[in-house]
C-alpha cells in the first residue's frame, strides 16, 4: 500500500476542497421550504422579575406568525444537566430549573424571555422590539465570594443559597495536614483563571422541522454531538422518543467545547416547528453568541505547595471557587471537579494532594467546558506555583521539575487517576533541544540594548483525554455513558463507509479515519468514506470533545474493522479452499500462508454480497459490523512547553518571541493534522495568557460582548510555533496506542507565557511574583510601576 495515506502519513485533507470552494454545508446554509424565522427577546438586565410581558402590539406586526413566552413551556421539561456532583458527605449538588424561556425571573443578560416567529428574520426582529416588557430589577450577583455571603441575593429563590456544591477530593485531611506540618517550605499563590468565551467562528444556528406525514421532528444544529442532543432534548425537554427525532449536525464551524451543550434555542426551534407545522430557523448574531454560548474557565484559586529540605514536593493543597453562571450547562459541574481535581498531580510524584472546589451560581452566562476544560485550570495553578517555588528556593525551574517527575508507570496519583505511560524527562529533553536555552543570555542582552526585558518560561502539563470508562464516570456523577461507536459497511465492490458517532468540526476525521482503515486492510484510503453528524445514519455515539475522537471513536472503528477482517478471512478461506487460520491479509490481498494462492479484497467483498460460492451454513452474507468501544482508562498526553518573551517596560506590552511545544501524544496517525491541532490550541492558550477575558461589571453587564471588546488573537498577535511530537509513549489500553492532541496546546501554554513575563520582570529588577491573566499592557505596566 502506498505510504502516503496510511498511519503516519501527512495526507492532505479531503474535506478542504469543499471548504475552499464555498461548497461546505453549514447549518446556516440550510434553508427549508416554508421556513419561518425566530428572534429571541433577551434580558438586558442581569437579574430581575418579569412584571409585565405584553405581546399584543408585536403580534399584529407584519409577518408575525406567533409569539411564545415562558408560559408556553410550562408543561415542557427544562434544559437538563448531564452531570451530578455529590459532596464528600454524599449530598447532591443544588440543581436549579432551567426553563427554555424565562418563567418569572431573568438570571443573566441574554436570558431568553420571549420568542417571535415571523416570515422573515427582519420581521421577527422588528416585532421583538415592539414587545412591551417591564422587569423589576433585582441586585446582580457577579462576584463569587460575595455570592456566597449569608445575605447575598439568591440567583434561584428556591435553592438554599448560591452554592452549587462544596467538593473535596484527594488525600484525607490528616494526610494533607501532616504533609504541610512537616514541610521545610510552603509556596502559596492566589490566582484567577479568567472567564473566556470559546468563540468558534461559526455562530450557533438551529433549524427545526416537523414532518406531518411521519410525525418525525428533525433538528439541524451546530453541535459537536448530535446523539447527545437527541437524547437530552428528546427525553428530558420535549418528550420525543428517539425514533421520532432526528438530529443533524452538518459541517460545523468550530466548537472548542461550546457546541457540546444542549441549548434552549435547539429545543425551541424543534418545539415551535412541531407547534406551527413549518420549519423554524434561528441564527445567532455574534453579539447574541457572547451572551448565550456557554463561557469557559472562571476559577479563583489559592494553591499551596509543600517542599521538603531537598526540594521534593511533599504536599499540594488547592482551594477554588468555580463560577457556574446562572444555570447548570450540560457538563458544567464536571469541569471544576473530575476534569480539574483529578489532574492536580500533574507530572509530579507529590504524595499528598487535596482539592476543594466551591461551585457558585451568579447572574452571568452559564460556564461549561472550553478547550481543555478543567485541565488548563489545574495545569495553570500547578505550573505557576512550581515556578514561584523555584524562585523562592533559588532553583532552576527546569531542574526543580525534573527532580519531581513521575518516572515509573503505571502511576497511581493521590487524586484517583492512574497514568498508564509517559516519559516526562524525554519531552523536557526534547523541548530544551528545540529552544537554545544556552543562547538566552545573549538574546536578553540584545533585548536590553533596545530597552526591552527578555524572559524565559517553561512548564509541563498532563491531561486526561478520551474520558472514560462509562462505569467509572457513572459513579462520579455522569448521566451518560462515554463509549464511542462505529459501523463499518463494506460495499459489494470493496469500498467502505464508516459511520462514526464522533463528529468532525475541523479535526479532519474524514481524512484521518480512512488512513487507519487503509493501514489495516491495505487498500487505498480513497476507498473509505466517513459519515458523521446525523443520528439517522450513525450509531449512537457521544460525539467529539475532550480529545476523544481517535482514542475512543477510532478505537471503535478499529474494533468494527477487526470484525470485518475476521469475517472476510472466513470467506477468503472458503474461496481459497484453505483453513481460516492460514489466511493472511496484506496489501488488500488474502493469501494462504506458504503458498502462492490468493484472492483480492474486492473478490471477497463481492462474494459476501453475491454468495454463490459461499459458506452460507457457517456465516451470513453481507459485510457490515458495528462496535461500541468503552475504554478502560483515560489517556494521558503530556509534554513540556517553553516561551520566550520580550516586555517593553515603557508600555507593558508583551511580545512572544518564540514558543516551543514538545508533546507526547502516543502514536500519531496524521502528523500534519496533529501539528495543526497544537497550533490552534497554542493560539487559544496564548490568547488567554495575553489577550482574552470576558469582563462583567458590578451590574452584571458583559462589557466584552463583541469582537470590538473581546480581544481575539489575530495573525499579528502570534508567533510561528515550534512543535514536536516525536516523543511517543503509546497508550497501553487502546488498539491504536493514541492519546489525543486537540486540547494540549490550550492546556499547556498559558503558564509558560506568564512564567516568562514574570521572569523578564524579575530580571529587570522588578519584584513581581504574579500577574493575573490576561497580561495586557495595562496590567503589566501596573505591575512594573507598583
Amino acid at each position: 500500500m502506498p505510504k502516503d495515506h496510511g498511519i503516519g502519513a501527512s495526507t492532505k485533507r479531503r474535506e478542504d476542497v469543499r471548504f475552499l470552494t464555498g461548497t461546505g454545508n453549514y447549518t446556516d446554509d440550510i434553508n427549508l421550504a416554508g421556513q419561518a424565522y425566530v428572534h429571541f427577546l433577551r434580558s438586558d438586565v442581569a437579574h430581575g422579575r418579569i412584571k409585565r410581558l405584553d405581546t399584543s402590539v408585536a403580534a399584529d406586526m407584519p409577518g408575525v406568525v406567533q409569539i411564545f413566552n415562558g408560559a408556553d413551556f410550562e408543561g415542557v421539561g427544562g434544559i437538563p444537566c448531564g452531570w451530578q456532583v455529590t459532596d464528600r458527605h454524599g449530598n447532591p449538588m443544588q440543581e436549579p430549573a432551567h426553563p427554555v424561556l424565562a418563567q418569572g425571573k431573568v438570571r443573566h443578560v441574554g436570558d431568553a424571555i420571549a420568542a417571535v416567529v415571523a416570515e422573515s428574520a427582519a420581521q421577527a426582529r422588528n416585532a421583538a422590539e415592539a414587545i412591551e416588557l417591564e422587569i423589576e430589577d433585582l441586585p446582580a450577583v457577579v462576584d463569587m465570594a460575595a455570592a456566597l455571603a449569608d445575605d447575598a441575593p439568591k440567583v434561584h429563590d428556591d435553592l438554599d443559597s448560591n452554592l452549587c456544591y462544596d467538593w473535596t477530593f484527594g488525600s484525607d485531611d490528616d494526610a494533607i495536614k501532616a504533609a504541610f506540618d512537616a514541610a521545610d517550605h510552603v509556596t502559596t499563590l492566589d490566582l484567577v483563571n479568567q472567564r473566556l468565551v470559546a468563540n468558534p467562528m461559526e455562530p450557533r444556528v438551529a433549524v427545526g422541522d416537523f414532518n406531518r406525514a411521519s410525525g418525525e421532528s428533525t433538528l439541524y444544529t451546530t453541535s459537536q454531538n448530535p446523539h447527545v442532543i437527541r437524547l437530552l432534548m428528546g427525553a428530558f425537554v420535549l418528550g420525543i422518543p428517539e425514533h421520532k427525532l432526528r438530529v443533524i449536525a452538518p459541517d460545523v464551524g468550530g466548537g472548542f467545547g461550546s457546541k457540546i451543550f444542549h441549548y434552549a434555542e435547539e429545543a425551541f426551534c424543534t418545539f415551535a416547528a412541531k407547534a406551527l407545522k413549518r420549519p423554524v430557523k434561528w441564527t445567532a448574531s455574534r453579539s447574541e453568541a457572547f451572551v448565550t454560548d456557554a463561557h469557559g474557565r472562571d476559577h479563583v484559586t489559592t494553591i499551596e505547595l509543600a517542599l521538603d529540605a531537598d526540594n521534593n514536593f511533599t504536599g499540594l493543597r488547592t482551594r477554588t471557587m468555580a463560577n457556574m453562571g446562572a444555570y447548570l450547562s450540560t457538563f458544567a459541574p464536571s469541569v471544576p471537579t473530575y476534569l480539574h481535581g483529578t489532574l492536580m498531580a500533574g507530572n509530579y510524584k507529590t504524595p499528598a494532594i487535596q482539592v476543594n472546589v466551591k461551585a457558585v451560581f451568579t447572574t452571568t452566562v452559564p460556564v461549561d467546558a472550553y478547550r481543555g476544560a478543567g485541565r488548563p485550570e489545574a495545569t495553570y495553578q500547578l505550573e505557576r506555583v512550581i515556578d514561584k517555588a523555584a524562585r523562592e528556593r533559588g532553583l532552576d525551574p527546569v531542574a526543580l521539575r525534573r527532580q519531581n517527575f513521575i518516572s515509573e508507570f503505571p502511576y497511581e496519583t493521590p487524586v484517583a487517576v492512574a497514568y498508564d505511560t509517559g516519559d516526562y524527562t524525554a519531552t523536557m529533553d526534547k523541548l530544551l533541544e528545540m529552544v537554545d536555552r544556552d543562547g538566552f543570555e545573549a538574546r536578553a542582552a540584545e533585548s536590553a540594548k533596545a530597552g526591552k526585558l527578555r524572559g524565559f518560561g517553561v512548564n509541563c502539563y498532563i491531561e486526561a483525554c478520551g474520558i472514560a470508562p462509562s462505569a467509572l464516570v457513572g459513579q462520579l456523577g455522569a448521566r451518560a455513558g462515554l463509549y464511542e461507536s462505529a459501523t463499518v459497511r463494506v460495499n459489494a465492490t470493496g469500498g467502505l463507509v464508516v459511520m462514526t458517532g464522533s463528529h468532525s468540526h475541523g479535526q479532519g476525521h474524514e481524512t484521518a479515519f480512512p488512513q487507519v482503515i487503509a493501514e489495516m486492510i491495505g487498500i487505498d484510503a480513497d476507498m473509505v468514506e466517513i459519515v458523521h453528524g446525523d443520528t439517522a445514519n450513525t450509531p449512537m455515539g457521544m460525539g467529539t470533545y475532550g480529545s476523544r475522537s481517535l482514542a475512543v471513536g477510532g478505537s471503535a472503528m478499529v474494533r468494527a474493522t477487526e470484525k470485518i477482517i475476521a469475517k472476510a478471512k472466513k470467506i477468503a478461506a472458503h474461496l481459497l479452499e484453505a483453513s481460516e487460520g492460514d489466511i493472511d491479509l496484506k496489501d488488500g490481498q488474502f493469501s494462504v500462508a506458504g503458498t502462492d494462492k490468493s484472492v483480492a479484497w474486492g473478490d471477497v467483498t463481492l462474494a459476501a454480497y453475491v454468495p454463490h460460492n459461499y459458506p452460507i451454513e457457517e456465516i451470513e452474507p453481507g459485510l457490515e459490523e458495528t462496535a461500541f468501544y468503552d475504554p478502560s482508562n483515560f489517556t494521558y498526553p503530556a509534554g513540556a512547553y517553553a516561551c520566550e518573551v520580550e516586555v517593553d517596560p515603557e508600555t507593558g506590552r508583551v511580545e512572544i518571541c518564540s514558543f516551543a511545544a514538545a508533546d507526547d501524544f502516543g502514536n500519531v496517525v496524521n502528523p500534519m493534522i496533529v501539528d495543526g491541532q497544537v497550533h490552534g490550541g497554542l493560539a487559544q492558550g496564548i490568547g488567554q495568557a495575553l489577550l482574552e477575558g470576558a469582563v462583567y461589571d458590578a451590574d452584571g453587564q458583559l462589557l466584552s460582548a463583541s469582537y470590538m471588546d473581546y480581544a481575539m488573537p489575530r495573525a499579528d498577535d502570534l508567533p510561528n510555533f515550534q512543535v514536536d511530537h516525536s516523543c511517543q509513549t503509546p497508550c497501553t489500553h487502546n488498539p491504536l496506542g493514541v492519546k489525543g492532541c486537540g486540547e494540549a496546546g490550550a492546556i499547556g501554554s498559558p503558564p509558560s507565557v506568564v512564567n516568562a513575563v514574570v521572569d523578564a520582570l524579575q530580571r529587570g529588577g522588578h519584584d513581581v511574583t504574579h500577574i493575573d491573566m490576561p497580561l495586557s499592557p495595562g496590567r503589566v505596566w501596573q505591575a512594573i510601576n507598583g
Binding site: 464555498g22 461546505g24 427582519a122
Partner: protein, 161 residues
C-alpha cells in the same frame, strides 16, 4: 424594495432588495452563494470578505444597493475554469491552512487581494494584512505558510517545527 443588478463571478445577476439589505445577505440569501460566511456583526471577523471591483471588502459592511453595477467575486468564483483549485486554494490545502473551514472563504479572498497588490509579501506583511480576518482554529501559522507558498516563496522559515 429596490432592484439591483451586478456581476457576480462573471455572471450578471439581479434581485430586489430592501434599503437595509447587506451585500452579504444578498449574496447568501438572494443568490444562495453560501460560501460567503457571516461570523460577527461588527465587521471584525472577515469571514464575509469578497472582492468588489477587485478590492477586498467585508460584504457585511456594504449595502447590496451600493453594489449596483459592481463586479463581485466570491469564493465560489475562485477556482480555475476547469474546476481545479487555484494556486491560493491549493496552497491552503497543501499547508493545512484551514480546519473548520468557516473563516476560510474570507481568508482566501483576503489572501488573493494581498497577493494582487503585493506579489511577494514578507511574513510580517501577511500577518498585518490579515488583521481583519479572525481564525480560531489554526493559530494562523499554516495560513501564513500557505500564503507564502502561494506567492512562490520558500516556507522554510515559517516551517519552524
Amino acid at each position: 424594495m429596490t432592484k439591483v443588478t451586478m456581476t457576480v463571478n462573471g455572471k450578471s445577476v439581479s434581485g430586489a432588495v430592501e434599503g437595509r439589505t447587506l451585500l452579504s445577505d444578498f449574496i447568501r440569501e438572494g443568490l444562495r452563494l453560501t460560501g460567503t460566511h457571516v461570523g460577527c456583526d461588527t465587521s471584525q471577523c472577515g469571514a464575509c470578505v469578497v472582492h468588489v471591483d477587485g478590492k477586498a471588502v467585508k460584504s457585511c459592511t456594504m449595502l447590496a444597493a451600493e453594489a449596483e453595477g459592481a463586479e463581485i467575486k466570491t469564493i465560489e468564483g475562485m477556482a480555475n475554469p476547469d474546476g481545479s483549485l487555484s494556486v491560493i486554494q491549493q496552497a491552503f490545502q497543501d499547508h493545512h491552512g484551514l480546519q473548520c473551514g468557516f473563516c476560510t472563504p474570507g481568508m482566501v479572498m483576503s489572501a488573493a487581494a494581498l497577493l494582487a497588490e503585493n506579489p511577494s509579501p514578507t511574513e510580517s506583511e501577511i500577518r498585518k494584512y490579515l488583521e481583519g480576518n479572525i481564525c480560531r482554529c489554526t493559530g494562523y501559522h499554516n495560513i501564513i505558510k500557505a500564503i507564502m507558498a502561494a506567492s512562490g516563496q520558500s516556507v522554510a522559515d515559517v516551517a519552524a517545527e
